[in-house]
Each structure stands twice: as structure tokens, then as C-alpha cells.
Amino acid sequence: MRNLAIFVLGGAALLALPHGLSFSQQEILVFLTLNILLVSSYRLLTLTGEWSLAHVVIMGVGAYASAIYTKELGIWVPVSILLGGATAALLAVLLSFPLFRMKGFYFLIGSFAAGEIIRLLWKRFRDPFGGAKGIKGIDPMPDFSIGIYDFDFFEPISYYYLSCAVVAVCLWILWRIERSPVGLTFHAVHWQDRLAEASGVNLRAYRTLAFSIASGFAGISGALMAHYVGTINPNSFDVDLMVFVLTWAIVGGTATFYGPILGCVVLTVLNEIVLREMGFEQMRPLIYGLIMILSILFLPKGLESLVQKIAGKRPGKDTPERSPAQ
């Protein structure tokens, strides 16, 4: 009963949220929603203990794939968004063959190299990727009406509602995966890899599974972004955005499901709303960098540890304690 009330109130708040904001803030809200999916999918990968630097490029794979499917093959946009996610997941399976020969630091650097190679391929080959200028004029979501509300996808509010719905479903799936035996195995792969292997768990297969699921959802997030913005190019998915994703995850903390989401929301609000409105335009990266340093120095377990402290937290019975930085 209490859960239902929270659910209804939360849903109503999410529906009402964009109406109090300016147009540009509504646009930021759309990106925030997509970034939440991006960073949550990233967390699924970190469950197995691997930190990738290719996640944003994989998101781009979803965006490029979906854009090309609609443009070249004329596939209906909602279907091609899902296909974009599937393409990203498939590419992750392919990438897993070279990348999962490595672990830890080497995986980090290896994934970075793989991501940069993909980005350079987009840049080099004008057909079909559009070269350095990227793909322009990507088909928008077709407008539709559900009786009480007309979706007009040039309006950020409409796109916000759509992406909210998609992201909510994706987050629910990610949540279910984590709570399933598969998710528990991911934990085991990270914390007890020898023991897990001795118990007959195929480590490589589970790492690949986590990598491809995470990549699939990142791809959906990228495809949603491509059909909203309308143009994508190799620089939309560069290291800068990857650094942000890494920061959200680390500042928020990765021990809980909500940690990275919290990090993403808090830092985005701080970055876009507070700093931009206050006119610190040029100083924003500086302040952002300071926040990163201060939070890793003084809050190494992330914002979620603050939340747990305030909530008078009982020690997590289902998520083992993990520090974000190993």
C-alpha cells in the first residue's frame, strides 16, 4: 500500500516536472532521462568488476545503427530504436572476444582503444557513416495521440514523456536482472571469481552477458538521443561524455542501484541548472573538476553512502558491500 502510494506520487511528480521548467531546461531534462539509462546500464557492467571506457561509443553504435536503419532501409522509428539497441548488444558480443582476454586496468585501456577505433571508422568512412560531419536529418519519432494527450515530438515535453516511459521500462528490466540469479552471479564473478569458477560458473560467458546487456541498453539510449536531436557525429560520443558517465557513477557510488542515478541527477542539475544560470559558463569545467576531486577524496563511497547514513541504513542484505574504487 505504501509502495503504491510512493509509486503514484513519484509518477505524478515526473509527469508534472517539465511544466515548471523553461524550454531549454526541458531539453536538458530529456538528456538527463537518457543519461540515467546510460549510467544505469553502465552500472550493470561494473557489477562484474570491469570498468569500460567504450560505453559511450557503444551508445553511439546504437544511435548510428538506428539512424542508418531508418534512413537507408526505411524502418519505422520505434522498431529501429530497438534494433539499434540490438546492434549495440551484438557488437558488444563481438568485442568481448578480444576485450575479455584482459582484466582490470588492461580491459580499461583495451576498451578505450576499441572505442576510439570505432569512432575513427565513423570519421573515416563517409558512406554510410557520414564522415566527420556525421548523419544529419535523422527521422524524428512519428507523432501520435493517445486520446488524452497528443504527442508532438518536436516538443521536448512529449519526448520527455516518451523517453521517461522507455527508460522506466528499461530500468525495471535492469533491476529485475540484477535481482535474478544471473545478477547474483555477476556479483560472484566480481567478488569471488575463483570460487565462482570452481562452482562451474563460466566467468567469460557471464562477463560477456553483462557487457552485451549493458551495451544493448546503452544503444537504446543512444538511439533515442539520435531521433531526438536529429544529427549525430563522431564527436557526439567522444571521451568527454565518457568521463561524465564515469564521474556520475563514481560520485554517486555503484554499490546500489540508485547510486549512479543519484550521481547523474545531482551533477547534471548542478552543472546545467545551477552553474549555467549563475553565469559561471567558462568556469563550469573547473568547478566540475573540483567536485570530482573533492568527492573522490572525501566521499569515496559516493553520494549513496550519504543517503544510507541519513536513512539510518541497515546494512544491505542483498547487495554486498562494495567500494566504487577497486
Binding site: 578480444p98 582503444a113 569545467p285 573538476g289 573522490i296 569515496p300
Partner: protein, 289 residues
């Protein structure tokens, strides 16, 4: 054809010089401190901007500006060690994140101080050594080559022949055992950071008149340095130098005969290949990471 080969070879030697200065610094920091310094490209940028400020704006002699660049960036390294890497010593991922934060701060400072535009730096010297009609080496590039050879030799002597060098190598191999022998870990970390950062700084200072100086120049440099230290073997100084030469040769020749983007792809693919076949690199041992 022979001319073209010789000219490309010369270009490769020049590229190898400044790449190895940067990569050796990165390896030294990683070896002693165990952190990947993502801000290394921005230390290089800071060296270049020291020259912009002193040589271009204040008309200080070029080599004084270069020396100032080495010392200033070395001190930046000391500050990083004290403020970031020392508190985060047991937390390599934390060190990496902190260095990314530091990178953003340095970039923002450069943008605020100098603007995003490319800086124009008057050439230090116009003279060119002509080997033949089409094989020429600008003297400004020769400075970089000479500096790299001298500095890297000096570093090698320092590491292999002096007591500090012994201490440094011991701390890199096994910090705890070194501490038990009375070697100050903080002291060796300071020396490694000063040298590592200083090398990046002098590379930036010397190449400032030859490249486009802008607040984002560190990005491509750090990617190159990563490739080099992976191919050479993380933690191996000799490996970093050899890999710099190999990478510079491959990259310069592919750029000349195909194009720059393909050269980047080839470089990254080489690194991926090394990671797959021999993750410890050509000269690496499995000690660290």
C-alpha cells in the same frame, strides 16, 4: 622516392623524440605511484602555455622559457602528488578519477587565461638543415630531438647509477619492502612526479612553436602516450622509448602514404593487438596492475 623515405624517416625521429619524453614520464609516474595520470596531456599543454606566456607575451629568451616550463610543470606534478595521489595511494581508480578532475581544471584555466583560440608563436629560428633538395630538418625540430636524447640519457644515468635512482626503482618494484629498507615512499613519489611531469612540460615547451597550441591539445597526445606505454609494456622505461620510435615510424609512414585517420586506426589496432597477444607489452613484466 628515396628522398621521400628519408624525409619521412626524419619526421618520424622528431615525432619519436617528443612522444618518448611524454611516455617515459607517464611510465615513471605509473611505475612509482601505481596511478594512470590522465592529466599528463594537460601537463604537456601547460608546458606549451608557459612558452606562450613567457616567450610570446613577455619576450623572455626561448630557452629560459623552456626551462621555466620544465620547472613550472614539475611543480604542478608535485602539487598533484601532494593533493591527489598521496591521499589516494591505495585507490588506483580513485587516482585516475582525481587526475581526470585535475585535467578539467587545467583545461578550464587555460581557456580562462588564454581563450580557446589557437596561439600564434613566432618561430624561434628559421634556419633549416638541408641534406638535399627535398630532405630538410628545421633546426627547431632538431632542438626537440637533442633535448630528448640528452634528457632521456640523463634520466637513465640517474635511475641506474645514483642512490636516488636505486631508491626509486626499489619503490617501483615493491613499495612495502622499500619502505622497510628505510626508503621514503613520499620522497620517491615526489621525485617521480617532478621528473615525470617535468618531462611532459619540457616536451610541450619545446614543441610549442611547432604545433598548434590550444587548451585541448593534450587529448591526442595522451592517446598516443597510452598506445606507446601499452605496446612498450606498462612500467618499462626502455619499452616506452622503443615503442615511441616504433609508433612514430608506423604513424608517420602511414600518414604520408595514406592519411592521418588511418594512421590513428593502425596505431590503436597495434595497441589492441599487443593487449590481446601479450598484455604485458613488449618489455613488460607482470609486476604491476
Amino acid at each position: 622516392m628515396l628522398d621521400l623515405l628519408a624525409q619521412t624517416g626524419l619526421n618520424a625521429v622528431y615525432a619519436a623524440s617528443y612522444i618518448s619524453l611524454i611516455a617515459v614520464g607517464l611510465v615513471l609516474i605509473f611505475g612509482v605511484m601505481g596511478v594512470i595520470n590522465f592529466a599528463h596531456g594537460e601537463l604537456y599543454m601547460a608546458g606549451a602555455y608557459t612558452v606562450v606566456l613567457l616567450y610570446t607575451d613577455l619576450a623572455v629568451p626561448f630557452f629560459v622559457a623552456v626551462a621555466a616550463g620544465l620547472i613550472f610543470v614539475g611543480c604542478l606534478g608535485l602539487a598533484m602528488e601532494r593533493a591527489l595521489f598521496r591521499p589516494l595511494r591505495d585507490n588506483p581508480l580513485g587516482g585516475l578519477v582525481a587526475s581526470i578532475g585535475f585535467l578539467m581544471i587545467l583545461q578550464a584555466l587555460a581557456v580562462m587565461g588564454f581563450g580557446v583560440r589557437m596561439e600564434h608563436i613566432p618561430p624561434v629560428t628559421q634556419s633549416v638543415i638541408e641534406f638535399s633538395d627535398r630532405v630538410r630538418l628545421p633546426v627547431a625540430r632538431l632542438y626537440v630531438i637533442v633535448a630528448a636524447v640528452v634528457l632521456l640519457t640523463a634520466l637513465w644515468v640517474f635511475l641506474k647509477k645514483t642512490r636516488f635512482g636505486w631508491a626509486l626503482r626499489a619503490a617501483a618494484q615493491d613499495p612495502e619492502a622499500a619502505a622497510l629498507q628505510g626508503i621514503s615512499i613520499n620522497q620517491t613519489a615526489r621525485i617521480a612526479m617532478f621528473i615525470g611531469a617535468g618531462l611532459a612540460g619540457i616536451a610541450g615547451a619545446l614543441t610549442a612553436p611547432l604545433v598548434s597550441v590550444n587548451p585541448h591539445m593534450g587529448h591526442s597526445v595522451i592517446v598516443t602516450a597510452f598506445i606507446v606505454i601499452i605496446v612498450g609494456g606498462v612500467g618499462s622505461l626502455e619499452g616506452a622509448v622503443v615503442a615511441s620510435v616504433a609508433y612514430a615510424l608506423v604513424h608517420t609512414f602511414v600518414t604520408t602514404f595514406y592519411d592521418g585517420v588511418i594512421a590513428d586506426i593502425v596505431g590503436l589496432s597495434l595497441m589492441l593487438l599487443v593487449l590481446i597477444i601479450k598484455p604485458t607489452g613488449l618489455f613488460g613484466s607482470a609486476d604491476r596492475a
